[in-house]
Each structure stands twice: as structure tokens, then as C-alpha cells.
Symmetry: C2
Subunit: 200 residues, 2 copies
């Protein structure tokens, strides 16, 4: 015994969402069918519209329904610094933190030969062309501090070595508000190695 | 700074799913746009189809795209017992437990005057008509053991008092595999009151 075929199909379809297992999918399907049909219909329409219209920005590769995204078009941003991040979510996190006024380039992933993700999939050729043809003076590599993120950062640093652009990486260290006692050894030794002179 | 307008609209639309907050909705939207466009499109189609076609069974009020659901049509079920449950999910749980071979009636909720849910919303008039015009000998009230579920059960028992049908309620007691030490007092006193003679 199960739900009717169409309800079962909807439950299966909801499983494509990340973090949604069989029980959550069932709960979502019944919630929409029993209590929020308008919300479900709106969701269906927004899914179809966004999957149809949202593509990559031609400049920075972020997700947008426009040809060139608003940040790349903005005249208030500096053209001298380019920040490389792995995903659009990382870009949003950087923007919400504040303090960066340059442009972005979104890799949409990291190098992962085992999954068949090479330099082409990350648009590294496009990144090089952009560095060659613009006024960018500093390239900030803000990939994640994971094995793959570090490898990707090193690959990019190597790739642009012959260009007149300085390359930097986000600092590693103690999170603000963190307590030394609970910080892992790797982070602590990076924080020690990267110590800065105190200024008054 | 946020995502592009259409991406933000998709994130908002995903919030209609139960248990999905702003962060999960963002993760879902980016996952679908970046990595599973086919899955997203299939989900949109299944949402539209099921919201359009799935309604209530004319007999038992469960969710189905058919006029009368397969369980109500089945000739292998007994017409002498009718089990009243709150939701289609409860019906599935009963079926998966096994041991019941009668028909169902799904209230799609419980009495809740504060939310404006009265006897009409639960189809209680339809339930009474069915009891009057059929061979049902026993009515099992399998609403949840909550305040609202109990109130709903009592209301139904009162409503059918003048009909020649015996009314029963699911037993309360110690869950199978449960340990006495960790069971709440309310359950334990119900288990004591409902004790059964041991048979060899």
C-alpha cells in the first residue's frame, strides 16, 4: 500500500532537492496537496521560469537571468581587483561580509579530476583572457580552505604567473570570537605563521 | 547585495515547503540551477500535474487523482469495519502496520475551533451518511492521542451514538520494545488501566 501513483511521483520528484529524504519528501508533498496548493503552484512556475531564464553572467559566470549581472555592470566597483570564488553562494557571503569593492569571477566548483572537472569546466581560460585584457592589478583567490580549493588556488596562481598581476589568498587564522582552547591545531599553526605586528 | 531577482524569487518560492528556512531554500535553489536542472524541471512538471489532478477520493477523502481510490474500489477489503484517521499519512502508517482489512475515512485534520476547523471541514456529515447507508458494523477511531485528536474522537462517538454501529478507539499502552523505566506516567497508567488477561 502506498499513495496514489501521481502522489508517489511527486514524492519522488521532491527527492531531487538536496537534504530531502523519503520522509521529508512525503511530508512536503502532503503539505502542498493538503494545505498550500497556491504555494506549490507558484513554486512550479518559479522553477520553470528560473530554469528557463537563469544562466551564467558572461563576465563573471555567476547565476543571473541577465546577459551581464548587475555587479559586473556597476560603475561603483573598482576594476583593479578581481576576487575568485567557487560558487555564487560564496560570492554572496563575501559581499555580506563587506570590505571588498572589486569584481568577481565565479568558478562554479573546484578542480576535481576524479569527477572529470578540469580547468575548462571552471572557465580558467576565460579568467586568463580577462586578466590579459583588463586593468586588474590584484587577483584574490578566495577558494575554500579544503584540499580541492587549495589545489585550485595553486593551479590558478601557476597559470597567471607570467602576467603582471599580484596574486593573494584569504588569510587563515582564528575566527573572530573564537576561543584558542577549542581551535584545531592546523588553524592555530596557520594563525601563528601569519601573525601580524600590532599597531597602535 | 543578493542574488539576481529571479534567483531570489525562486528562493522565496521554495520557502513554501515545510521545514525549509532561508538557508535551505538558498541551497536548494543553487543546487537545482547549478547541478540538477533536469530534476528541477521534472519537479516543476510533477507539481503542476499533481496540483491539477490530485483531489479527494469521493468515498474516503484520501488524496488521489482518481474519482474513487484503489482501496475503496478493492473487492478484497471488508465492508464491515471503517477506520477514521486524521491524514493520508496516518492511513499509510496503518496499512504498513498491517492487521486491518476494512475501509478508511480520512478527516484531513482534527477539530480545531481556534483555526476555524469545524465538523464540516472534516466531512463528518459525509461520514454519518456513509454509516447510515452501508453495512459498517464497527467504527475504529484512529485519531492521534493528542488533545485535538481525542476531542475529535469524542465528537464523532457522540455523533454516531444513535446508529447501530460499535465504536472503538486504538489502545494506549507501552510501545513494543519500550522499557518501563523510560515511559511517561500518563502512558503507563493507561497501560495499567487497559491490562489484558494473559492467555496460554
Amino acid at each position: 500500500m502506498a499513495f496514489s501513483p501521481l502522489v508517489e511521483q511527486l514524492i519522488t520528484a521532491l527527492r531531487c532537492l538536496p537534504g530531502v529524504g523519503p520522509k521529508s519528501a512525503q511530508r512536503m508533498a502532503l503539505h502542498l496537496l493538503e494545505r498550500d496548493r497556491d504555494g506549490g503552484l507558484y513554486l512550479a512556475q518559479m522553477l520553470e521560469r528560473s530554469l528557463d531564464e537563469v544562466g551564467q553572467c558572461r563576465m563573471c559566470r555567476t547565476l543571473t537571468e541577465e546577459d551581464i549581472c548587475s555587479l559586473c555592470r556597476s560603475e561603483r566597483r573598482s576594476d583593479e581587483t578581481l576576487c575568485v570564488v567557487e560558487t555564487p553562494a560564496d560570492q554572496i557571503a563575501m559581499e555580506q561580509a563587506g570590505g571588498f569593492n572589486g569584481r568577481y569571477f565565479i568558478l562554479t566548483g573546484h578542480l576535481s579530476p576524479i569527477d572529470g572537472i578540469g580547468p575548462e569546466a571552471l572557465g580558467l581560460e576565460q579568467l586568463r583572457q580577462r586578466l590579459e585584457s583588463s586593468d586588474i592589478k590584484e587577483l584574490i583567490l578566495a577558494t575554500n580552505p579544503t584540499v580541492e580549493g587549495e589545489a585550485t588556488a595553486h593551479y590558478i596562481a601557476e597559470m597567471v604567473r607570467d602576467l603582471p598581476v599580484s596574486v593573494s589568498r584569504l588569510a587563515h587564522g582564528i575566527p573572530v570570537g573564537g576561543e584558542l582552547e577549542y581551535i584545531d591545531g592546523g588553524t592555530l599553526s596557520r594563525a601563528l605563521a601569519g601573525r601580524l605586528p600590532m599597531t597602535e
